[in-house]
């Protein structure tokens, strides 16, 4: 245990020191190889130009190396794996994709993922917007926002325990200690085992992610709402617009871009949702999703990397449109 702390400290020191030493040393080396001081005018200009060619790559080199090993190589490799069998040795063409289309569990996951994709971003954005508008008008709005924002810091596993306790079911005749069943009972309803209710259990899992992510939507949208020029709203009031018209026709169009960003950010998160399903149901009772299915196949029966990779590709295909849109958007802004 002590050695673990020690090795962590050593790594921090060595890692940070190593980084600094690399950047500083490489920089010095360039100065030595292409001196710009103490040489004749033309040589100095030449060397300065060469320095300018080399130095950016020294600065960005480590980042490119790590991105290459940890993201770019794996993306290409995963694509290749999806055309190979279990162990990754024999080329099987499109067999994995064919298997996927016929697999009951995959179709169920895909369907569930689609439901998640529709419900969660919509609910987060909608609730986030409402809360942002409401909290803007009251003196304790900042405190309220802080509290609603809080779950964003909680891990998905932690949130799962929190909500599992909310959904807790105890048999007939026992006191319900899950707050949801207690409320249902207080209103004369029948307590339920929420996370195994066919079909609806998906929504009880989605609530957890909505609970976590609404704070994110709220903060971003709240700042966008503040950015709306006062004059536009005042002008609408003078023209006799009612509050709903102001909200829908003046405010919403002005923050439309932000709404889109919030929506896509949460969409990407939803495509990757894993922890919540793993810890709440592990895909039982028809609540499977793609990321958990992929994890399953990675290790199931010693691991089937071909099928796992194929499911990863499906998730990637879901992200692709957003990725392209982001890149085009960034190019439009001129690399700024």
């Amino acid at each position: 245990m002590a050695s673990q702390i020690l090795s962590a400290i050593i790594v921090i020191v060595v890692g940070v020191g190593g980084c600094l030493a690399y950047f500083w040393g490489a920089n010095k080396l360039v100065d030595l190889v292409y001196p710009s001081r103490g040489v004749s005018g033309t040589a100095a200009v030449d060397n300065l130009r060469r320095q300018g060619l080399v130095r950016p790559w020294l600065f960005i080199g480590p980042a490119i190396l790590i991105l290459g090993v940890y993201l770019i190589y794996p993306v290409v490799s995963t694509l290749l794996y999806s055309f190979y069998d279990k162990g990754g040795d024999n080329f099987v063409g499109l067999n994995n994709y064919r298997w996927l289309l016929g697999d009951e569990e995959f179709r169920n996951s895909l369907l569930n993922n689609l439901m998640w994709l529709i419900v969660v971003p919509a609910a987060c954005t909608f609730l986030g917007l409402i809360i942002a508008v409401l909290t803007d008008k009251i003196w304790w709005g900042t405190i309220a926002k802080s509290l609603i924002f809080l779950p964003l810091a909680i891990s998905f596993v932690g949130a799962s325990v929190i909500w599992k306790f909310v959904y807790e079911y105890r048999g007939d005749g026992q006191e319900q200690i899950g707050i949801l069943n207690a409320i249902v009972q207080a209103f004369g309803g029948q307590p339920q085992v929420w996370i195994s209710l066919p079909f609806w259990n998906n929504f009880f899992l989605m609530i957890i992610l909505i609970w976590i992510q609404t704070g994110f939507a709220m903060v971003i949208l709240s700042s966008a709402l503040r950015g709306i020029p006062e004059e536009t709203i005042e002008a609408a009031v003078i023209d006799g617009a009612n509050p709903f018209q102001i909200f829908w026709k003046i405010m919403i169009p002005q923050i439309w871009g932000t709404i889109l960003v919030v929506w896509t950010t949460i969409t990407i998160l939803v495509l990757k949702v894993f922890d919540i399903v793993l810890t709440m149901t592990n895909g039982q009772w028809n609540s499977q999703v793609l990321a958990n299915l992929m994890f399953n196949w990675m290790f199931r029966g010693g691991g089937d990397f071909g099928r796992g990779a194929t499911i990863a590709i499906v998730i990637m295909i879901g992200v692709l449109p957003i990725m392209i849109w982001n890149i085009r958007q960034a190019n439009k802004e001129g690399g700024r």
């Binding site: 991105l67 993201l71 891990s155 990397f305 957003i322 802004e333």
Partner: protein, 388 residues
Amino acid sequence: MAQASGKSAGKSFFGRFGVHLAVLFFVLIWTLPTIGILVTSLRDKNQIVASGWWTSFSSSMQTSATRLSPPSSQVQKDGKFVIEGNLFETPGSSAVSAFGTRSAQPTEFKAGDVADLKDGVTLQVNADGSYVFASPVAFDGDNGRRVYYAATMPPKFTTDNYNTVLLSEGIGRSFLNSLTVTIPATIIPIMIAAFAAYALAWMRFPGRALLIAVIIGLLVVPLQMALIPLLELYNGVGNLFGVPSKTYLGIWLAHTGFGLPFAIYLLRSYMAGLPRELMESARIDGASDFEIFTKIVLPLSFPVLASFAIFQFLWVWNDLLVAMVFLGSGNDQLVLTGRLNALLGSRGGDWEILTTSAFITIIVPLLVFFSLQRYFVRGLLAGSVKGG
């Protein structure tokens, strides 16, 4: 909307009241689940399953059984044999409302009454738990008489669950493992990203625009795409050099790789917004890029560095997937999220264990979050409003 509803005073009053109520409703939904596990983690193990946590602040009525003092403690008083004492270890800790001597009728007599138990034997139990057990003939036997009583138990809060969980459920060790993973995995990417971000923001070189586009593309690549090849790579490296493939170094580098696109993106857009004159005047004074970076850009970028550090810290601390793939499940490598997941499987209904463990895993992020919320929000706005 506020301006519009201000037109009539009456509407505005009810409107405002409604807004307060609506926000209160949202705040309650968003905080009650967390409060639930905090309160539960502090409750007595037996009380957790007996009643909902929301009742834990009020006293609850419970029927219990206990034994009176054994006959050896009897004294003679006024020609009678008397045993006196108190039902509770700490007298007055709860209030007896009724008592009885038969399990079929545990609340046969009211507190303070003198119960006639035949043959002149009497038992009186008072509300504070004190009792007088009297008989005309000497008591015999080894054990004290069994009595039943109904008492209002005051709420009982304890930190026992925390002791149990930290010491015997391995949460304490996992806490340490989480720190071991998180701190280096937060610091390493900052350095690498800062230099790369500076180059992308302020240095001219061919391929720069392409690199920026690639990084924006990598921002959204799902983690799932990286898992299988990296697992194979780690296994390969492990076999080649005869070292374990699941190591802390491995997960530090993995988290660095996964965090790098966002780090570079966030830092670059901040650095690109710094005033150009600053760099140019420094350059005219003969400062090199390295000096400009370390002496001007880095200090000025402190807020965005802090933002990223918080993000990365929360992300790594809260991560389950990467830890499950790149670290072992042994005691020396299981992080908090992994341990909590394991406990959900093995201690399914033991809410005193689960709620306490969950609270320990979320307390660090909550503290970080509350103390550094300003930087967190700033990073959130800078990181998402432009790209996503």
